[in-house]
Structure formats: structure tokens, C-alpha cells
């Protein structure tokens, strides 16, 4: 019924290798884009933007970044929070040192800076694997947080060690603020949406191209990959660089657009690394859709539960918070038992069933 290839003829190779080869799927993708870019900005209120959509988009970028490294290239990383902090502090230094710089450049430069830092911390991955690498990246996490706490230059020697984002514009010659308190929700939302769209598009095409195949070869069996001619140095380091670029952009946006003021230990601590790791495990390792699904699960579900339990059910707020842990934890276990490959696999199964529906075979 749905998702049927029947009647959907391809006349060129490029059409055949499209990201969404099935017509129905393609329309669904266009619909999401139209709703996301054309309708939501007009109906958005502050609560929806600041509590749900903007964090969802930002975490989706982080999840994509980690998914490239862990899901596609098989290098376990627990340093996500630290790399996000690199993005945030680069943004802060750029914003305060060059007040004329627009936010698109600031964010991209923050990503590049993080990519370089990621590259440096990726070097050990050439010698160590698996759990040992996880511990090495864990060291990166603690080192970076310590660094941003210790060296006053990073937070411009402010009394409390907090950094706060001044008001900056979308792009040159535009007068639309995307950071600072006076920024409109729709502008912040569209800014994040734009980054998510471009980065997801790039990630999708990177991962199905030659670079992605090299990453996956390394993930599946690095010795075999080396024998068939994949350069592990290049593959692993590009994965670290691209992944850190994504993670850095997400950390920068988390600080500049979403939170506005940040303290490194709290906003970019080890819990953030785990949060993003959980997102990709629940969403599905090695899947771009999984990154979105995981981010939605970890960001939107708690907010929904909180509103439902305290707003609709009139529960006590502390009780609701405790139950939130129970329910989210329970759902994570449920999903991992029912579908160890994450929500992305579940979604693929649904698609397969829908193709045959209403027939069982």
C-alpha cells in the first residue's frame, strides 16, 4: 500500500541511487521540509521553540556527529561533552573578540576548531581500540572541562567563570539577531534548522560515499579493511575530524542560541557525553534517521512526560521527576530488548510491513 516501488521507474543511475528512492518516501521528506521551514516558524511560540524544538535540533546535530564516529566508523567516544565545550568556547572567544562577525561564520569556525581538537584527540585511536579508546576519549572529556575551568583567558577572566553570549546577527547585512535575549524564537529556530538541514544532507552523502564505505569497513573489521586497501590512518582521522566538526557546531549552538549562558562543568560535563551516546544507541547506530529519532526520544519525551504528569495528571513536581526517570529508563530497556538496533531499525521494519500491507506476505 505505502512505500511501494511498483510503477516508480528510474531512467538514470543518479535517480536510482537517490537518498529516497521510493516516491512516497520522497514526498514525505519534502513534507517534513515544508512543515519544518515553511510552517513551523510562523506558528511557533517561545515555549515550543526554547524548550522543545531548538534543543531537539541541536542534539540531533550532536547525535549525527557521534553517529559518524561511533556508528559508522566504530570508534567509541565518551568525549562528546568536551568537544561540545570546545565549540562553545570558540564561539564565545570569536563573538567577544570580533563583534562584527556574523553567527554563520562564528558557528562554522567553531566547528573547524573543534575538528582540529578532535583530530588531535583522535590520534590515539590509531593505536588503541574499543574500551581503551573509550577511556582515552574520557580523558579528553575531563581534560577539556578542566582546561576551560582553569584558564581564565577562555572565559575572559569573568568573576564567576560563566560565559554568556552577546547579541549577534544571522548573517552580514541582515538585522536579525539569533543570539542574546532579544533574539526572536523563529529566527533562532530557522538558524538551527538550516544547520541541521545542511549537516544532515552532508552526513547522509558522506556516509554513503567512498569515505563512508571506508569508515564502515574499518568498523566491521579493521584488519580486513586494511588488506583491501583502506588506509586506517586516513579513515579514522577523517571520522574524528568530521564527527568533531558536527559535535562542535552543536556545542556552539547549544551555548549561543539555546542557553545563552554556560558553565562548562555543568553544561558540558560527562553526563552530556552519555546523553548523546544514549541518543545514538537508542536511535540506531549507523543511521542518520536514528540520530534524529534518538535526539527526539531523549529531548522531547522527558518534556512531554513532565507536562503530562504535572499538567494533566496534576502530580507533584518532584514525584513526576522521579517517575520520569523510571518511565524513560523503562522505555529505554523496552526498546533495547524489543529492538537492539534502535528506533531506526524499528522504523525500517515498519516500512517493510507497510509495503506489503494489507497482505501478510
Amino acid at each position: 500500500m505505502f512505500y511501494r516501488e511498483a510503477g516508480d521507474f528510474k531512467t538514470s543511475y543518479s535517480a536510482d541511487s537517490a537518498t529516497f528512492p521510493i516516491l512516497f518516501d520522497r514526498y514525505r521528506y519534502y513534507l517534513v521540509l515544508i512543515v519544518g521551514a515553511g510552517i513551523i516558524p510562523f506558528v511557533l511560540n517561545d515555549y515550543w521553540a526554547n524548550s522543545i524544538l531548538i534543543p531537539f535540533l541541536i542534539y540531533a546535530i550532536a547525535a549525527m556527529g557521534l553517529n559518524i564516529l561511533t556508528g559508522y566508523c566504530g570508534q567509541v567516544s565518551l568525549g562528546t561533552g568536551g568537544f561540545m565545550a570546545v565549540g562553545a568556547y570558540t564561539s564565545y572567544k570569536l563573538m567577544t573578540a570580533f563583534p562584527g562577525l556574523d553567527m554563520i561564520s562564528v558557528t562554522l569556525l567553531s566547528g573547524l576548531m573543534t575538528a582540529m581538537v578532535g583530530l588531535a584527540f583522535g590520534l590515539p585511536s590509531l593505536r588503541i581500540k574499543g574500551f581503551y579508546l573509550a577511556v582515552a576519549t574520557l580523558a579528553a572529556q575531563f581534560f577539556l572541562v578542566w582546561l576551560f575551568n582553569k584558564v581564565g583567558w577562555f572565559y575572559n577572566y569573568s568573576a564567576s567563570g560563566q560565559i554568556s553570549a552577546p547579541t549577534r546577527d544571522f548573517f552580514y547585512f541582515t538585522n536579525i539577531a539569533v543570539t542574546g535575549p532579544s533574539a526572536e524564537s523563529w529566527a533562532k529556530y530557522l538558524f538551527c534548522f538550516m544547520f541541521v538541514f545542511v549537516l544532515a544532507w552532508v552526513a547522509r552523502n558522506l556516509t554513503r560515499g567512498s569515505m563512508g564505505r571506508q569508515w564502515m569497513a574499518i568498523r566491521d573489521m579493521d584488519i580486513a579493511a586494511e588488506i583491501i586497501g583502506v588506509n586506517p590512518l586516513k579513515a579514522k582521522l577523517t571520522a574524528f575530524a568530521v564527527s568533531s566538526f558536527y559535535v562542535g557546531i552543536s556545542g556552539a549552538l547549544l551555548f549561543t542560541v539555546y542557553l545563552g549562558a554556560v558553565e562548562v562543568g555543568e553544561a558540558y560535563g560527562i553526563t552530556k557525553s552519555f546523553l548523546v551516546l544514549f541518543m545514538i544507541i537508542i536511535g540506531g547506530l549507523g543511521s542518520i534517521f536514528g540520530s534524529f529519532a534518538g535526539a527526539a526520544f531523549m529531548v522531547i519525551l522527558p518534556v512531554f512526560l513532565r507536562n503530562f504528569l504535572t499538567g494533566t495528571m496534576n502530580w507533584d513536581s518532584a514525584l513526576a521527576t522521579h517517575f520520569e526517570f523510571v518511565i524513560v529508563g523503562g522505555l529505554i530497556m523496552f526498546f533495547l530488548i524489543v529492538e537492539p538496533h534502535g528506533l531506526a531499525r524499528l522504523w525500517a521494519l515498519v516500512k517493510d510491513k507497510l509495503r506489503l500491507w494489507p497482505f501478510p506476505h
Binding site: G265, E266, S317
Partner: protein, 426 residues
């Protein structure tokens, strides 16, 4: 799937919409997480006092109060979410009880025109009302606290701390780092050695810091701790047999639960408090009209303890400002901008405190457009092994030290954010 979630969500959000004509005082509380021990009594006190006003006086000026609670777990991201979700209810004033959340909310509340009251926490330089139009931190701030402690030590040491060592054991966050600048200035002024010992969040790991204290034997240890960190620090101090009377906490490190677990071993430990200790007539009223009637926010067990009293005091200051706003504007159902104007004109005298059933609970102070910080006075209290005992009367800080620091920091903020003086034109 995403669209379905959004549909369901919007239904859930719509269902939680508010009732009209209420004075809304959102409580961004934390009853979970590592700081819940401090968050619970404060939130109870805040909410119970507002409930008392509703039952006893029919609200403030005839309009009922409401205290929607939102759980932040001391987490800044959840704090933002709570702010956004309660702002639409017609919030009059925010009191997040978290320095991290305060930093987030200062610019937001200024743009949204909602006053932010950070009583004894938050950004110290917000005491300069000329720059921070919507942020208030009366009656006292961190730099006052640092100055008060040093003043008290000066008095005990016949006016000289020369050659002594004072260690600051602080929570490694914006909160804990706030007093460093003041203490550095004071160290230079009074010629004492200043040792900084950072404890990482949440504060359960303090072995190294206390090892260093044991090695260097500072004459005094001053603590900027909160939540679970306080109990651990006090236990560690006992373990290394540090003389407890030389161990001094600020007003967030001197609650009942901080010392109760150590009990008699912690006897001698001192801390600041911005409120008076002991029984007050208002407690009996809360017991009778709120707790016995089942209108209390928590389980009622915290009534009268240090942080409960402080939460109640915060609610009292908010309620007095709201009453003043009604008087100034002539409208019963005030909005946030009227509330802000009233907070700037607020004057708390002994008569007002006595009329509210809490005589002498805090210092007398008056807020002005330039000075949002109050007098900055606090008492010093000591744990005798069973209860807190008042040691001193309200001690004044050294304004000649804190004021230049406040001016400097707020001028930097004003320059970074392009803020012009708000007081000169009015």
C-alpha cells in the same frame, strides 16, 4: 511519528493552562538531584507562606496567590524550560535558587520585563541597579558574605590577620567562584594568605582537598558549598580533626541537614545566616492554617529550620513587594512591570517584619534604583552539636571593598551588552 508526538504534546501543554486573576509566583524548585536537601525546605517555605496568605488574608490585596512549581533539579537546561513554561502564566517574579540558572535568566527576564530576585546568590554585581534593571539581590550577596566573614575574623584576631592563612573550599561552579575576587582583594588589604580549593560538582569527592588542608593547616577554612557537598566537607573536617570553630560556611552551608548527620562531632562549626534563628509567631500560624489543613507543599517536617525560614523569608519579601505594587499602581491584579517598580521602592522595616509575624527575621533595608543589593548584613551562627545557636547580631560588610568590585564588574557587563544607565533619566 514525529508529527504524532507533536500533536499529543500540544494537547498536553494546552491542558495545563492557567486560571485567571491570580498573583503568580513561580517556584523553580529542585526536590530531586544532589542539591535536593537544600532545595526542598526552601521550596516548602516559599510555597507555604503564600498558602498562608491565601488562607489567612485571602491572598494579597484580595487577589489569591498561586505558586506553580517547576522542577529544575538544579540543572540550567531544565531551568530554561521551566522559565519558558511558567512565564506565560503571568509570572510576577522569579527566584530560581541557583546561580547557574540566574545567569541564564538575567538577560531573558530583562527583555521580558519580569523581575528576578536572587536573594543572597546569583550575580553579585546585579546589586548595581543602574545596569541590572530587572535583577535584585537584596538583602545580601556573596561578596558581602566574604567581607562579613573576614570582618568577623578580624574582630576575633584583634584587628589583624597578618600572616594567617584562610582557605576557601568552594563548589567549582559560578556559585563557588563568586567570592574569590573579593577574598583576593581582602587578602591584599589585610595581608593574609589566601588558598583556593575547588571541589568539583556535585561535591562528594573531597579527599584531595582535605589532604591539602591537613598538610597546609590553614588557620581558617571558609566554605562555599551547597547540597551534598556541605555534609561531606563537615565529615572530612571531623576525620582530619580540623578544629571545627575555625571552619566557617557561608549562608548556603549552614542548614540543619548539613550538620545533623555529623551531630555532636560537628559542634563548633560556624556559618553565616541572613535570617534570625528561633521560633516566630508565623510558624504557629503556618502549622495551624497550612500544615494542619493539608495545604503544605512538602511533608511539613521542615517547618522552622534554617532553609525553610529562608524560603519563607523570600516569599515574604515577594509578597511585601506585591502589596506595595498594588498600593503604588492602584490595581489589585498587578503585572510584572508594576512588581519591578515596587521592588525598586521596597523598604523593609522592623514594623513590617513584626506585622508579618516574623520580628527581626532579617536586617532592615531599603532598595533604590541604584542599589538593588540591600545592606548586606548577616548573622553568624554556631552548631552546638544539637542546634544552631546565634553568635552575633547582624554584622555589616565592608562596602568600601565590595562596592568598587561591583562597579567594575557591572561596568564590564554594561559595556559587553550595550546597556545605558537606567536610573539617571528617571
Amino acid at each position: 511519528m514525529k508529527k504524532l508526538t507533536i500533536l499529543v504534546l500540544s494537547a498536553a501543554v494546552a491542558a495545563g493552562s492557567p486560571a485567571a486573576a491570580e498573583l503568580v509566583f513561580p517556584s523553580l524548585s529542585y526536590r530531586t538531584g544532589p542539591f535536593a536537601a537544600g532545595g526542598i525546605p526552601f521550596a516548602d517555605g516559599y510555597s507555604d507562606y503564600m498558602a498562608l496568605l491565601n488562607v489567612r488574608d485571602g491572598g494579597i490585596g484580595g487577589v489569591m496567590t498561586s505558586v506553580p512549581e517547576c522542577e529544575t533539579a538544579y540543572n540550567t537546561e531544565r531551568g530554561v524550560e521551566c522559565y519558558e513554561s511558567t512565564r506565560g502564566l503571568g509570572a510576577l517574579v522569579y527566584q530560581p535558587l541557583s546561580t547557574g540558572i540566574t545567569y541564564q535568566l538575567i538577560p531573558r527576564t530583562t527583555v521580558d520585563g519580569i523581575p528576578l530576585h536572587t536573594m543572597g546568590y546569583g550575580r553579585t554585581s546585579a546589586a548595581n541597579g543602574d545596569v541590572f534593571s530587572h535583577t535584585f539581590n537584596y538583602p545580601a550577596n556573596y561578596w558581602d558574605a566574604a567581607s562579613i566573614i573576614v570582618n568577623q575574623l578580624l574582630e576575633e584576631n584583634d584587628g589583624s590577620l597578618e600572616g594567617q592563612t584562610i582557605a576557601l573550599l568552594y563548589h567549582n561552579s559560578a556559585y563557588g567562584r563568586e567570592p574569590i575576587r573579593t577574598l583576593e582583594t581582602l587578602a591584599e588589604m589585610h595581608d593574609f594568605e589566601f588558598l583556593q580549593l575547588a571541589v568539583d560538582h556535585p561535591g562528594q569527592e573531597q579527599g584531595n582537598q582535605w589532604l591539602q588542608i591537613r598538610r597546609e593547616r590553614p588557620d581558617y577554612v571558609v566554605m562555599w558549598g551547597w547540597g551534598v557537598m556541605n555534609q561531606v566537607a563537615i565529615q572530612e573536617a571531623i576525620n582530619i580533626r580540623y578544629p571545627m570553630e575555625n571552619f566557617i560556611g557561608n549562608w548556603w552551608s549552614g542548614a540543619d541537614h548539613d550538620v545533623e548527620s555529623a551531630g555532636a562531632d560537628a559542634a563548633g562549626y560556624r556559618s553565616l545566616n541572613m535570617n534570625r534563628l528561633g521560633d516566630m509567631p508565623v510558624f504557629a500560624e503556618i502549622q495551624e492554617l497550612v500544615i494542619d489543613a493539608g495545604l503544605n507543599a512538602g511533608d511539613g517536617s521542615n517547618l522552622g529550620n534554617v532553609l525553610y525560614t529562608r524560603g519563607m523569608y523570600a516569599a515574604f519579601l515577594a509578597a511585601e513587594a506585591a502589596a506595595l505594587a498594588q498600593e503604588m499602581s492602584g490595581v489589585a491584579d498587578i503585572d510584572a512591570s508594576m512588581m519591578r517598580d515596587a521592588m525598586e521602592a521596597l523598604e523593609i522595616t522592623n514594623e513590617i517584619m513584626e506585622a508579618a509575624g516574623m520580628p527581626g527575621i532579617g536586617p532592615e533595608f531599603a532598595v533604590t534604583c541604584e542599589d538593588h543589593g540591600g545592606t548586606g548584613m548577616a548573622i553568624m551562627q554556631q552548631w552546638d552539636g544539637e542546634a544552631w545557636v546565634t553568635l552575633t547580631d547582624f554584622i555589616a560588610p565592608d562596602d568600601s571593598v565590595t562596592q568598587p568590585l561591583i562597579d567594575e564588574d557591572s561596568a564590564q557587563y554594561a559595556a559587553e551588552n550595550g546597556i545605558t544607565s537606567q536610573c539617571s533619566d528617571s
